[in-house]
Assembly symmetry: C2
């Protein structure tokens, strides 16, 4: 397996997919990727004229970036058979947005099983935000609003731990809601055997078979039931997460 799991597409105020671009380029070169099948289903709010136009706009944003890296992009949402587009592309790319809507659509289109099988057989996978959530056993550590009820909370289950993307250390001043850490600790009470990686904005995980590397500018925060959270720097060995 070969996965690039990115916390967030874009840092506040920067150009779209700016900070992870060089990491994506490395991944594209290593894996000789010329063509990408894009899954836009999480991006439902880019147009006021319906989902199809929203997905068109989303695809074009991603295409603009990826073509600069020498890669063609075909979305699964409007032409041809999604499973064929995936089969005929060198890589699957799952964009961020609403994780519940993405999950709902992957079940409705039958792509949940197609993507899982294809990635396990070796096709590279790039995801960010909801697209990183999707690689986990379930969607249970998403930050997103549950705007639709998906067929199941089970996701692609490509890795044996959960990612919390956009991991955030504090609440805005004066806000009394739960912190992210409190939310993850609640997850662990309900799911004590599962590890959770808090992936801060500006960082990503590169997973190839039994190797896992943290890349970017931030530490990762690891949560396990009844243990204190632990911080890991880029470069530290994290392969135990895959066992």
């Amino acid at each position: 397996m070969n996965l690039l799991l990115i916390s967030n597409s874009t840092m506040a105020g920067e150009e779209y997919l700016s900070w992870p671009r060089l990491f994506i380029l490395d991944f594209v070169r290593e894996n000789k990727i010329k063509s990408i099948a894009f899954i836009p289903y999480a991006g439902i709010s880019l147009s006021k004229n319906g989902l199809n136009e929203s997905y068109d706009i989303y695809t074009n944003k991603v295409k603009t970036v990826m073509e600069q890296l020498g890669v063609t992009v075909t979305s699964v949402h409007n032409t041809g058979t999604p499973a064929d587009i995936i089969e005929n592309s060198d890589c699957i790319m799952v964009g961020g947005g609403n994780t519940f809507f993405l999950t709902h659509m992957l079940y409705n289109t039958g792509l949940m099983e197609v993507i899982r099988k294809t990635v396990i057989e070796g096709k590279p996978y790039i995801g960010w935000s909801a697209g990183s959530n999707m690689a986990c056993p379930t969607l249970k550590t998403t930050n997103d609003m549950p705007i639709v009820e998906p067929q199941s909370f089970n996701c692609l289950n490509l890795i044996p731990f959960q990612i919390n993307p956009h991991y955030l250390d504090a609440n805005p001043d004066g806000h009394g809601g739960e912190t992210r850490q409190q939310r993850i600790e609640e997850f662990l009470i309900a799911n004590p055997s599962v590890k959770v990686v808090g992936l801060r904005e500006g960082s990503l995980l590169h997973i190839s078979d039994d190797k896992i590397e943290l890349k970017g500018s931030k530490k990762l925060r690891l949560f396990q039931f009844e243990e204190l959270p632990m911080e890991f720097n880029p470069g530290e060995n994290l392969d135990f997460l895959l066992k």
Copy 2:
């Protein structure tokens, strides 16, 4: 019906259930409430020694406050039959915490239907945070992490609109995740016929039959599909929300 739907139990840095206490006291007096059946199921992280102890601690926190207001509190979680405790109390109180866990437990215990029926027949209902979410048609506008998969996203359906409790205007500085408004706008794309009330911390809705009042120190923000968000002050007529 007689509902007190509170955004949040406690403002950051204040004593537990401090800001809404006088509003709760008014509600208790108006409805001649002497006894409360407390639903603690959302509060799963108050103890490291398991759910039962967490619920005990939660119940005691609420009891301490409510006894000062002359009201006895019996939790449904550890003694007697939950449905009997509800039947023998003057009011149902649903505490905050994790909305998904609360929903999961209300289905598992059969209380979802019992509470709905009892409140429609006239028993007063007080909820905050997850307890306010629970009064809505579904849990789809909660802010909580989906740590368990409940039997259904459908909730008590006591009111015809959705509440987003702990409504927050901005992200922390420099954070690139979706704002609360963007999340609610995504909800509206997936659920265009449903209104959403953003209920800021420090405010509550008092609903009696066909009357609805906003109380507290903040405006409410109303979201409807394809309309600009609208702000309402305490005292403004909001009865259209119940139609």
